[in-house]
Amino acid sequence: MSSILFENKKDFEALLMGNDAIARGALEAGVNVVTGYPGTPSSEIVEQLANVAGERNLYVEWSVNEKVALEVAAAGSYANLKSLCVMKQVGVNVAADSLLHIAEYGTRGPLVLVSCEDPGALSSTNEGDSRPYAKMMEFPLLEPGDFQEAKDMARWAFELSCDIRNIVMLRSVTRLSHASGNVIMGKLPKSIPEAIFEFSGTPMDQMKGAVLAFPTLVDSLRRRQHEKLSKAVAAFEESPFNTYTGPQKPELLIITSSVCNLYTREALTILNLWDRVGLLKLGTTWPLPSKLLEQHLSVCEKIFIVEEGTPFLEDNIKVMAAEKAKQVGIKTFFGRKDGTLPCVNELNPDLLIKGINHILGTSVQPVLDDYSAEAAQIIAAGVFNRELTFCPGCPHRASFWLIHTALKLDNRSGFLCGDIGCYGLGAGPCGFSTIKILQAMGSGIGMAGGFGKFDRFGMSQSVMAVCGDSTFFHAAMPALVNAVHNQSDMILVVLDNSGTAMTGFQPHPGSPAGAMGSKLPMLDIEKLCRAMDVRVEVSDPFDLKATRQILLEFLEDKGNPRVLILKQPCALSPIRKGRKMYEMAIDADRCLADHCGCNRLCTRVFKCPGLIWDTIKNKIQIDEVLCAGCGVCASICPTGAITAKKVR
């Protein structure tokens, strides 16, 4: 499967998405092992590389979670292979323990960790910034500032890792990963790897000794780690990825990295300030190239630090300026901390124009403050109001309908702990606001396990948790083990829709094939739960009657955790092949409309987008195009006005 991305030519130019550019960079570096856990905005990198796994002789896997992904990649490094590990910002937290130890020991074959982050939380539950890990755990950090750099720096990250023999982190953000730009390709190398893990040397022999994190070795390991960092700084001082544009003695020095580079350039061009303002774009953001910074800090008094996420650069540069106060003099800093830029959310050229206006007293009008409100208003007139909702035929709608009903009937102010996946929408109207706690992957089950122990403190509410099939393997299993072992009174509902639906159906350990498409054994969630000796039931969420009964029985039951696996593939899942299970129709005479008493339960509460209220006939109607033919609405209509005929 070849695309322009993988063409084995050099010096040709192509329009590439940031993530594709990173994948290409890894290929140009001769990567052998690629691992990751899906998560927007990172997923395409592993997917693209999986596409050429055969052609380029790669080993590519979607690992069970980010920690294991990093460990598999580290094994690659210790086997003298070139390894790439990809995740989104939250994943770095999952991988952190292993990351600390890998960084402390160092690597053999190059190991590059790519973290694609999400300032503005466009597709995340947080604005996590993983850059501080580089400082905290003492390894180098690179941040590409455009699409060409995304590719070039990805390739260079492998070289750097090889030189200093430690892990290197490359950080991207949504607007780089998912936007596109022109990239000139380099050549793809021929590499014939030979994997071997050597352990014949002494423990401090990094290339040949056993890889041991022993208390007695820590002192030496850390000294060695610091030497690697010094080596990295030396390379950074000379790095072509740190660039300066502007006058020799600027009135204002802007220091930035990542896509903020592009925003700043745009702002300076609009403001026509290139002759007054200097732009120091850093591609190597930890450890900081101190000589380079000293040189630039000393020629300008006003320093404006432009970055998204935490004030990582800002804090580190301030520390450096303090250390070098004698050489560089007293500086005035502007950035996220003093409010020149907002301290949360993404940046954009308008915010930068405002910031520069504030510093230099320029008065170019950026986009008006009420622009987005006004635009929304204008658009609203011509666009249907679309709610955040589950797709037509989504099994989650039926599952939440059932859980909501069961918790209501149970009548003990019960609640549902959520997890990360499409089903997080269960906190909103399309999930009947059933989820009341939603945080990290697996944390819903962990917390439910806690709530389920608080009867001794008078807690009498029923406690339920949901997770998806991928999440079950990722982080729910230990939490379930904990709940079982501690005999927590909780119910786990696994919403098994046969794939990692939200990020694009990447396979997981319950899938029949892996990232590279070859057949793999499927782990059975039911068997795993049974092995934990809990009460397990499997049901079809589209069978409202049977599933409701099980849920009500589970709620009556007491003591140990109970697990209900609701199996029904995602409405968009490739295994459904877009086929309808039922041909839906309306028996118009039966729809009593305003005389029914249901107050339009179908379109007011259940609200599948496949159902529309015909305002002229004042009756329910099926939207033939949207309806996925799941048949569920037929079971919720109290008069049987919606009919379902089995297809096939």
Binding site: H404, K408, L409, N411, H595, G597, N599, L601, V605, P638
Partner: protein, 383 residues
């Protein structure tokens, strides 16, 4: 009625003015009218929110503001009115002639015998009766075959979801329906019958007979279950009865004999809403049946019933029962009517006191009009 009240005559009103006030009787008049309210294990539950400003649930609920006088005028002969016990055509002491019926009945088996007769003689085509499972959780059932009636005998001391079944059955193309109802259920049926929303007119015409049960209070099933478990352990329970107040206990009949539970403990299981109930003798029925009282003492009385006839239909049914020899009759002691009036007035007074305590206003009885003639009478009795 203020503006907010006007906009809350649907499910929201049920929620704020009935459920949250602790007034819900569990009668299930609001269940099976729509998919958003369900009965589950002795609780009436709002499963899905409904924002209709006016709804049948609110209209028929016996705990939403009710014009009692209008209902009395519509259903009964004004000349029959007795302020304490409602329409009154006569008080009788009866029991089923059939010994087998009596054996399985709560008291004299009058209700069972009358329902059998009503089905047999075509007064009604279906009867909605209360059954229960082995954990004493009531379930209502519609019975067509008169031979199945005696299988439903005996009091279920938690509220039965009888009206949810009435709502379901009356929507089908069934014939005349008879309902055995507690006072709250009979009141809801009266509201439905007298003032149905247009869609329900046809449905309500099917309601032919309301056979009422006297009621002091009902028990909260969840609490009862806990108490029984505590007192009887794993013993199999055949039945329960609550003795007249001087015995101050509930008897639980088990395979290994009778266990007495002191009334104070039983009282902790009474449904909260029953403290706000204005009716002991089931005033909105055609005929009301309760336990008998006589100088002969409880051992004899427990096998008999006291019956109030309220409507012509009720009178006809009782007359037919006498004629057919279905019921046995005996003389009613002179004092009984006065005792009944006293007991009934006592329940009404407690209700008014409890309601005004809840509202903090001596003249605000939430669902009962302070100007209602019966209310005025009770207040006067109290002085």
């Amino acid at each position: 009625m203020d503006k907010d009240d006007k906009n809350q005559q649907g499910q929201q009103g049920i929620n704020t003015k009935v459920l949250k006030q602790g007034l819900c009787t569990g009668c299930c008049a609001c269940v099976n009218l729509c998919p958003s309210i369900e009965y589950y294990k002795d609780k009436t539950i709002l499963v899905h929110d409904c924002n209709l400003e006016k709804g049948r649930c609110f209209t028929y609920c016996p705990r939403t503001p009710t014009d009692f006088e209008m209902l009395r005028c519509a259903l009964f002969n004004p000349g029959d009115m007795v302020l304490e016990i409602g329409a009154f055509k006569g008080l009788y002491m009866t029991r089923a002639a059939d010994e087998n019926i009596r054996a399985g009945a709560q008291h004299g088996g009058t209700v069972t015998a009358l329902i059998q007769l009503a089905l047999d003689q075509g007064f009604i085509d279906e009867a909605i009766l209360a059954d229960q499972n082995d954990q004493f959780l009531p379930a209502a059932q519609s019975i067509v075959d008169k031979d199945e009636v005696s299988g439903k005998s005996g009091s279920k001391f938690a509220v039965s979801p009888t009206l949810s079944v009435f709502n379901r059955i009356s929507k089908t193309d069934t014939g005349k329906i008879g309902v055995v109802a507690t006072p709250c259920q009979a009141l809801a049926l009266a509201k439905m019958k007298v003032n149905p929303v247009p869609e329900d007119k046809m449905r309500m015409e099917k309601l032919r007979l309301v056979l009422g049960l006297f009621c002091g209070w009902a028990l909260d099933w969840r609490k009862l279950q806990k108490l029984l478990k505590e007192k009887t352990g794993d013993r199999k329970i055949k039945g329960i009865d609550i003795l007249p107040s001087k015995y101050a206990c509930m008897e639980v009949y088990t395979m290994d004999g009778t266990i007495e539970i002191p009334i104070e403990e039983v009282n902790t299981c009474v449904r909260d809403n029953c403290r706000y109930c204005f009716d002991m003798t089931c005033e909105f029925a055609d005929i009301s049946v309760g336990a008998a009282r006589s100088p002969e003492g409880w051992d004899v009385d427990r096998g008999w019933n006291q019956v109030i006839v309220r409507t012509d239909l009720g009178g006809q049914l009782l007359a037919l029962a006498r004629e057919k020899g279905v019921l046995e009759f005996k003389a009613v002691p002179d004092k009984n009517i006065e005792n009944l009036k006293k007991a009934s007035a006592g329940k009404k007074l407690t209700c008014l006191i409890n309601l005004s305590e809840k509202t903090g206003n001596p003249d605000d009885f939430i669902y009962i009009d302070p100007e209602d003639p019966v209310v005025r009478h009770i207040k006067k009795l109290r002085g």
